[in-house]
Symmetry: C2
Subunit: 441 residues, 2 copies
């Protein structure tokens, strides 16, 4: 944003009082995007979160507010039933829209009466995956996750030699990306312990979550035309939360030599709200290397990235069993970590993804991989937290967890807090584990 | 097909004489589908190959031929600019359409004069990827390929213990699927020899092709509802050729532990023509196991599959260097193999892909992986043929090949020949290697 941008000013308040609460995820400084229908019968549209309400962007266009606040801005993409056209517009348009929305929703806006009738209650709304995800890529950016999982799989060499040279990734499954709230069915599969030479066919007994962030790509690149690291962030619209549900016993048996497949493709949850990179501007952190880490290759290096390519986002996992729900017990936080601790940052993921010529398209999703911190209790999945299932977690209902049980509800949360800035949040990404189906046909 | 289906009758002839040539890829018994534009300016439509011509399916609908031959068939999907709607129609509709087209294009059809004006010359036409590929999955079905590549990477254990239990696969990149004829640019990347601990950044020096078949999925399945092996083939519309271009030096450095990524995602070529599973009916082969192979798990086993789940399709790779083209030399065949030799067959790929709940969608592409035969000279990629680049191939222009050079043109071909059946072919899947770009930004 330009130096004159005051959208992050912590003193800025909204005319919607719920947006001004100190712990609100969605103050006027945030303004994340979702695709929603206001009720069972309503049709799909783009919404912007403000306090405890959703602003209907189509209604904001139709009443003239957007046109008045951003004269000349193409408003057709704002009236779509998906973020796709808006993603394709690019950063200059996103920035103008942010400035307009920030003004319209701030205290003192003359548009308050009109926009007050364009608000919906998220508790009554339905949400869906906000863009058509052409391709979904999952990275492996947390060195703490890589090392702790590697220790379980390859104690002799937990971190492979390539890790510090390139952002490792695999192509994920786009068809099974699910909106937060969709239950996840425990998958059947071929299961085998490490070192076993014969599998058995059964429902997964080592079901896990993975705490991740994911970036929605805006304008992409033509095949054969890499995106330079200096331009990489201009191709990122914003971030959501992502739970990369993982069946560890399916994964352990199938993943050699071509990587994860059915152990991950039975469902991947995303949060409805996409927090724009512009909203995250006050929470930038330097991208740091230890003295003995190799210098990044030039295509992964950039002064701006070194200064502020990392993001200071606190991440948390909450767990609630069926018994806890029945007893009226609140979810328990099983770990917190920070996205700043990842070894690779967002701009590097985009630059690396395209360097060999691969084309990104608007709506593509680039996930960070499990975000774990340096301490074991900051692990973003049960595999790490329970040391491969060997050390159980105690839950408030008296039960223990090595992996997820049927009825368990997993909620990912994220927020940014920093002196001199207004707190912003991501909302929730939640999903409940349903029992396996009787028998696959 | 029903016992009364005579679409495969080898005596059946077309009124288009070029379709009756003994070596024609596209006799009236074949009738594969593509999406094409008849010339530079024309718009996209569905075509059916017959002899040396393309039947414009939209024109065949508009002149009343399809309606007369298949009364009540929904013809809207035939007038689309993509196979997507037709793929979603399902097997009963595909079969009716095949019967209708076969009758209309056979000698003696009263529609010959009308349809004779609905033919286009493929030499003047443009083609594109015939469906919107939501997800692209690449399997690893040739045990000969797996063993020979494994020998190069892990001489101590070429074939991993899971290989004979499940069809190994990885998610591929959908955005960079290219229609045959599109050149492929040599990718830059981090390169390292096996066992190296530091990469260098340079254009790939070990560029390779991979000879594959790929299935276009018709109606898919809902998330959480596996497709039983007995129904699996009903979800497959047909097969095309696929060249999974691979940068072996990028792949070797990046692939641990999450599988191939940039070494494959810079481009994947498909042939324009999709040969339907119905057309391949006369070329079914038993799916065989060696006595010491494990019995397939029940979800991968089926009497019909054992009887005829494999497909007798001859596959070939042809290579032509820039110097050969300049000297007017024809392409040289560097290998042939047969899809029948794969360890896993089509129905098993579909059943396995969905058994943990993953949903397939119409237009998804499931590739077989490199199709290599038991003999080294039947290898479907240079990595195997040249034993990791250690034994060069001699080309007719006097040069040698360990991996692909700039200007090399790779053409994949496939055909089915069997006593008592009419030969059918797949046409070509071709691509030429262009030099790497100057420097990635």
């Amino acid at each position: 944003m330009s130096p004159l941008d005051t959208t992050h000013d912590p003193a800025r308040r909204s005319w919607l009082e719920s947006a001004n609460a100190a712990n609100a995820d969605f103050p006027v400084q945030n303004l994340p995007f979702a695709v929603y229908a206001p009720d069972r019968a309503g049709d799909w549209r783009i919404g912007v979160a403000i306090g405890d309400r959703i602003l209907d962007l189509r209604a904001a266009v139709h009443c003239g507010a957007i046109g008045a606040a951003a004269p000349g801005l193409d408003t057709a993409p704002l009236c779509a039933d998906s973020l796709d056209p808006l993603l394709a517009c690019g950063h200059a348009a996103w920035r103008r829209l942010r400035l307009a929305l920030c003004g319209l929703l701030s205290a003192g806006s003359a548009w308050q009466p009109r926009l007050g009738t364009a608000l919906h209650d998220p508790a009554l709304a339905r949400f869906r995956v906000p863009a058509r995800v052409g391709d979904y890529t999952d990275f492996f950016t947390s060195i703490h996750h890589a090392a702790r999982v590697g220790e379980l799989l390859r104690p002799e060499q937990p971190l492979l030699p390539n890790y510090k040279w390139l952002p490792i990734a695999y192509h994920g499954r786009a068809s099974s990306i699910l909106i937060s709230g969709t239950p996840v069915v425990r998958p059947w599969g071929q299961l085998a312990a490490r070192g076993a030479t014969e599998p058995r066919f059964a429902p997964s007994a080592r079901l896990d979550y993975e705490l991740e962030l994911a970036a929605f790509i805006g304008p992409g690149n033509a095949l054969g035309s890499p995106i330079g690291i200096g331009q990489a962030e201009e191709h990122v619209f914003g971030l959501c939360l992502l739970n990369d549900w993982s069946a560890r016993d399916i994964q352990a048996w199938e993943y050699q030599p071509l990587g994860p497949f059915l152990g991950k493709s039975f469902g991947t949850s995303v949060s409805p709200w996409v927090v724009t990179l512009d909203a995250l501007q006050p929470f930038r952190s330097p991208w740091l290397r230890a003295p003995d880490d190799p210098a990044p290759l030039p295509y992964l290096d950039d002064p701006t990235v070194r200064r502020g390519g990392a993001l200071d986002i606190t991440l948390a996992v909450q767990l609630r069993s069926a018994a806890m729900r029945a007893a009226g017990l609140a979810a328990v936080t099983v770990s917190t970590s920070n996205a700043r601790d990842a070894y690779w940052c967002l701009a590097q993921l985009v630059a690396h993804h395209t360097v060999a010529g691969c084309n990104l398209r608007a709506g593509d999703l680039l996930a960070t991989g499990t975000q774990s911190g340096p301490l074991r209790e900051q692990s973003g999945c049960l595999l790490e937290l329970t040391q491969g299932g060997s050390k159980a977690l105690a839950l408030p209902d008296g039960s223990q967890r090595r992996f997820l049980e049927d009825g368990d509800e997993v909620t990912l949360r994220a927020w940014c807090e920093r002196g001199g800035a207004r707190r912003i949040g991501f909302g929730d990404c939640t999903g409940t584990v349903l029992p396996a189906i009787d028998t696959p046909r």
